[in-house]
């Protein structure tokens, strides 16, 4: 029997409420408001209270997939990354770095956003970076 409470931040809206993920026997079983958090002071909205449900959903993607002529094939990470990198390299070589665009996201962390724009700017060589949040 294990039970732990892991502090985190709600990833639904921009308010940034403090939550505790409740993990029992290694499974994510619930989300609680963090009582002493300066933002939400022990309260959450309906989305926050159910934050764990999207994470434990059956519908989560579990393997990299390649789509060949409309058929999805499960592949390993090396194949998926290798395929994507080769195609990107070819496109950059043929059409220049500005033929590539990267859309970063308001749902991923700061560290990941930082890396994604670094990827576009340094690895690809383009400033074509934007996020959907202006929409």
């Amino acid at each position: 029997m294990t039970l732990k409470f892991v502090p985190s931040i709600c990833s639904y809206c921009g308010t940034g409420c403090g939550v505790l993920f409740q993990v029992m026997d290694g499974q994510l079983v619930g989300t609680l408001p963090m009582k002493t958090h300066p933002v939400n002071q022990g309260k959450l909205c309906i989305k926050g209270w159910n934050l764990h449900e999207h994470i434990t959903s059956e519908l989560r993607l579990k393997h990299p997939l390649l789509n060949t002529f409309g058929r999805m094939t499960k592949v390993g990470w090396d194949d998926a990354i290798g395929f994507a990198a080769d195609r990107l390299k070819t496109i950059v070589a043929e059409h220049g770095p500005d033929s590539v665009g990267v859309l970063v996201s308001a749902k991923i962390t700061n560290e990941e956003n930082y890396l994604a724009q670094k990827f576009a700017r340094a690895a690809v060589g383009t400033n074509n970076v934007d996020h959907c949040a202006r929409l």
């Binding site: 502090p7 029992m24 963090m34 009582k35 002493t36 002071q41």
Partner: protein, 271 residues
């Protein structure tokens, strides 16, 4: 306290002990176990309060063989009584370790919540229900006024279900609050006052007045007062003190004619 918990874990009196541990200045709930017994040195008893008895119920449902110790304020003790009455958490599976909390000669202030109780705003006193009032004071309000004041409170509800989610004695598999035929979906505020009254009725003979719901309510609705009224009626009608003992609730054996009449509800809300 720390020593006591350590001893309980060491000699197998309990398999897990629910209390709090500090993390960067925040008291977070923590399950102490024999495997990591040294953590008990960092055990704290508060000041924040989570629904430890609810966690105990969840553990018991999965691990009926484990003995569960927990810090027990007076309200926790009442909750354990009710949970035993409703067959959610067998009394012999839990080992409460009492902590002083409710007002006493030594400790005149209840520290129900970790927050300074904020002074109630003047507008709330004018239009809503002041959470510091006594039930008698609410009863003394004229019917239409009382109704208007409660409706003012209910219309702020953002339907977070926090009051139910955090409540130690809300354990139903299918909750009536989510029954689309009873309460419409997709609207803010939810159907009022039905949403709140459905929950209030369910708290009759069940709510142990711990205040966790009110503490979790983003809209600051004085829920404790509402359920307090319901249980005052239960006390009047059945002479039953919810949570005071493990005596069966008057509602746990409903005959073919349910004893729960709508009268108490009407007295709270509409005239």
């Amino acid at each position: 306290m720390q020593k006591q918990v350590r001893a309980w874990l060491e000699d197998g009196k309990v398999d897990v002990f629910l209390a709090y541990k500090m993390d960067c200045g925040h008291p977070l709930p923590h399950a102490f176990t024999r495997e990591r017994i040294d953590e008990t040195e960092d055990l704290v008893t508060g000041p924040a309060r989570y629904s430890l008895e609810k966690f105990a119920t969840q553990i018991a449902a999965r691990h009926p063989e484990k003995k569960i110790g927990l810090l027990a304020r007076d309200c926790t003790q009442r909750a354990l009584n009710v949970l035993a009455v409703w067959n959610q958490l067998p009394a012999e599976q839990v080992e409460p370790l009492p902590v002083n909390c409710c007002p006493s000669a030594l400790k005149p202030h209840a520290d129900c919540t970790y927050l300074e109780a904020p002074a109630t705003g003047e507008v709330k006193i004018q239009c809503g229900q002041d959470p510091r009032q006594s039930i008698e004071a609410v009863d003394a309000q004229e019917g239409p006024e009382r109704f208007a004041r409660w409706m003012y409170e209910f219309q702020k509800c953002i339907k977070c279900y926090g009051c139910r989610n955090i409540c130690p004695v809300c354990f139903c598999k299918d909750c009536s609050l989510e029954h689309p035929d009873l309460i419409g979906t997709g609207n803010l505020p939810p159907d009022i006052p039905i949403f709140h009254l459905v929950r209030a009725v369910h708290m009759a003979g069940r709510c142990i007045d711990c205040g966790l719901c009110e503490d979790a309510c983003p809209a600051e609705i004085p829920l404790r007062l509402l359920y307090g009224k319901v249980n005052a009626i239960v006390k009047d009608l059945f002479d039953y003190d919810t949570g005071a003992s493990d005596a069966l609730s008057p509602f746990s054996i409903l005959g073919d004619k349910p004893t729960l009449t709508p009268a108490p509800l009407l007295a709270v809300s509409q005239e």
